[in-house]
């Protein structure tokens, strides 16, 4: 397999953002944006990706690793094709989020932060997604489709079943999301 390379898109974005930070500070400041974009490109951030980023931004791999492990949204392991993230925080809990989350676990045969055997869905319990009035809420991301992350609101067992059915068929039910 050919060695990994940051995409042209990332390179263009680095050049565009670089002047927005003061002299000598840009490389470090771009650590988060580049981590995020690299995850979009590769699906997750492993040691090889860390080295690429460190070399490109003139940072130590130790710094980039420290940053990448601090932040929840950076995946160390490759998630399934779909990443289903269910909020169980207070606003959603009050509206039955744990029933929804338990249904996901049962149907996918996984516990929190695990991927279904067919590599299709990774399930993660997440904290408040700032949609608390429309809880329970979930967010779905699709590998290789950065335009996706969609919110699914006012979930109940019927709606989550429909969502899980669609994911099993290989499709994000955008008609149910926003």
């Amino acid at each position: 397999m050919a060695a990994k390379q940051l995409s042209n898109e990332i390179e263009a974005r680095i050049r565009q953002l670089w002047p927005r930070f003061p002299e000598g500070k840009a490389g470090r400041a771009l650590c988060l944006p580049v981590l995020y974009m690299a995850q979009e490109q590769f699906g997750h951030v492993d040691a090889e990706v860390i080295d690429l980023i460190a070399a490109r931004l003139e940072l130590t791999p130790a710094h980039v690793t420290g940053v990448s492990t601090f932040y929840f949204m950076i995946n160390k392991d490759r998630p399934g094709r779909y990443h289903l993230q269910v909020c169980t925080n207070i606003g959603c809990q009050l509206m039955g989020a744990y029933d929804v989350f338990d249904r996901c676990k049962a149907r996918l045969g996984v516990s929190n932060r695990q991927t279904s055997r067919d590599d299709n869905v990774t399930l993660t319990e997440v904290e408040c997604l700032a949609a608390c009035g429309f809880g329970p809420v979930a967010q779905i991301a699709e590998r290789g489709k950065p335009e996706i992350p969609l919110y699914f609101e006012n979930l109940d067992l019927k709606k989550i079943d429909a969502i899980l059915d669609a994911l099993a068929e290989g499709r994000v039910p955008t008609e149910l999301g926003n």
Binding site: L32, Y71, M73, N89, I90, G91, E127, C128, A130, C132
Partner: protein, 465 residues
């Protein structure tokens, strides 16, 4: 007069085109930024001073006063808008970003002129992918029109706005953690002082303001600070955007007078409690804030009233002993982030309390021992109580752990975990005690002893409140 006669930020919420520059300008948008380019920075600051605008991010700090801390001879000043909104129960900034991004951009232009800022940033929560796209599109439109960049509106003022995305860490909403993150590091809070207004981003004076705070500025420039102050109550100017969730018939985001009480908010704005039930408790400003009991809802949801009104009980560390907020001050509650959580009489308060401390334990950055260890311990004990494994003395333990965290940490996340816990125990002591009592009865007759630690995956027992 209804509650909805005046609106500052939310008037066009729900109108699909409202996020477009053309629509915004057709309603008078950007006239105030244009006007500000011809104003002296001091006169903008004077209007903000007269407006009694207070920060909408959580602390309610007077905006003009914060701005005045920037050293007068500073060469480089940064403006950073806090769009990290992640305080559970709070979802107002997300609505502003999605429905009225140009009000934020215009407000940032005005603030930047007042503070002599050349480079401004918006730190937006990583999960808000949709809002990021909308905001970036709005900024791109403003650049295309010459409202951002070099010599905006043809004036001598230049301003760049850069949107910076977080990567999923609640603590990055705390202003010093936010700055650590924006510099490209871990989101670790820093000790204050020095305050960011003196020494912030890359060591330079930096003003961090919330999205809603900044989005009020165009109105203040248009109508004058006094008009804004007149809309408010006492030392708090303007209206407030609250987000209401939980057991009400019409949850949502509402821009309301600060004089509205909790009771009016629930009954007159949100259509009452679902199923005609009664209220058990209301969190007035995000889960960091002490809960209000059902008989404490006739106080206006205004910064000073929620802190001082004697109809709200003082939070205790044990029955009869008031919690000391420092300097002999006591704690009732605070307006916080405007995130209102309504819990009806069917709610298991112990489970709600557990979910809240569980959140803080997950989100502690781990820098200080009282917070790192204390929040984890709180979560374990609260879990034990909520899921029927509570032991004698556990309720007092919750309170004493909280008391040990509060005031002893680098940032306010420690207090944010301790205060609501103390309030839950103060106001719903009977429910906590009853849970522990039933647990001990249950386990005396059970052949299986209760586990000595909280299970690794607490929600395996079903976490519904």
């Amino acid at each position: 007069m209804g509650w909805f006669d005046v609106k500052i930020i939310s008037e066009h919420f729900g109108v699909p085109e409202a996020k477009r520059l053309e629509y915004y300008e057709s309603k008078g948008g950007y006239l105030n930024a244009r006007k500000a380019t011809a104003m002296a920075p001091e006169s903008i600051a004077a209007e903000v001073q007269a407006s009694n605008l207070r920060g909408r991010g959580g602390a309610g700090f007077p905006t003009a006063m914060k701005w005045s801390f920037v050293p007068k001879d500073a060469e480089t000043v940064y403006l950073v808008v806090n769009a990290d909104e992640s305080e559970p129960g709070t979802f107002k900034d997300r609505h502003i970003l999605f429905w009225n991004p140009h009000a934020l951009v215009e407000g940032m232009i005005i603030a930047s002129i007042a503070l002599k800022v050349r480079n401004a940033y918006v730190y937006i929560r990583g999960e808000m992918a949709r809002e990021y796209r909308v905001l970036q599109a709005a900024i791109d439109e403003a650049y295309a029109k010459g409202y951002l960049g070099e010599r905006i509106f043809g004036s001598g003022v230049s301003l760049d706005i850069t949107v910076y995305r977080g990567l999923g860490a609640y603590i990055c909403g705390e202003e010093t953690a936010l700055l650590s993150s924006l510099e490209g590091g871990r989101g670790w809070p820093r000790l204050k002082p020095p305050f960011p207004a003196v020494k912030g981003l890359w060591g330079q004076p930096t003003i961090v303001n919330n999205v809603e705070t900044i989005a009020n500025l165009p109105w203040i420039v248009e109508h004058g600070g006094k008009a804004f102050a007149d809309l408010g109550v006492g030392r708090s100017g303007g209206l407030r955007i609250v987000s209401v969730c939980g057991h009400v018939n019409k949850p949502g985001v509402y821009e309301l007078p600060l004089s509205i009480t909790g009771r009016q908010l629930i009954d007159e704005v949100c259509g009452g409690v679902r199923g005609g039930r009664k209220v058990k408790g209301v969190i007035p400003g995000g889960v960091s804030m002490p809960v209000l009991a059902a008989d404490e809802l006739d106080v206006p949801f205004e910064f000073d009233a929620l802190q001082k009104d004697e109809r709200i009980r003082e939070v205790e560390v044990r029955p009869g002993q008031k919690f000391d907020l420092g300097g002999g001050r006591t704690l009732r509650t605070m307006a916080g982030s405007g995130g209102v959580v309504v819990m009806d009489d069917q709610t298991d308060i112990t489970k709600a309390a557990w979910r809240i401390v569980h959140f803080f334990a997950e989100e502690s950055c781990g820098q200080c021992t009282p917070c790192r260890e204390g929040t984890g311990w709180l979560a374990a004990v609260a879990h034990r109580i909520a899921f029927d494994h509570g032991r004698a003395g556990d309720v007092d333990l919750l309170a004493s752990i909280s008391d040990g965290i509060a005031g002893n940490t680098i940032c306010a996340l420690g207090d944010a975990a301790a205060w609501p816990t103390l309030a839950f125990v103060t106001k719903y002591r009977d429910e906590f005690d009853a849970k522990v009592r039933t647990a001990s009865l249950h386990h005396r007759s059970s052949p299986h002893p209760a586990p000595s630690h909280a299970p690794a995956a607490p929600h395996d027992e079903g976490g519904g409140a």
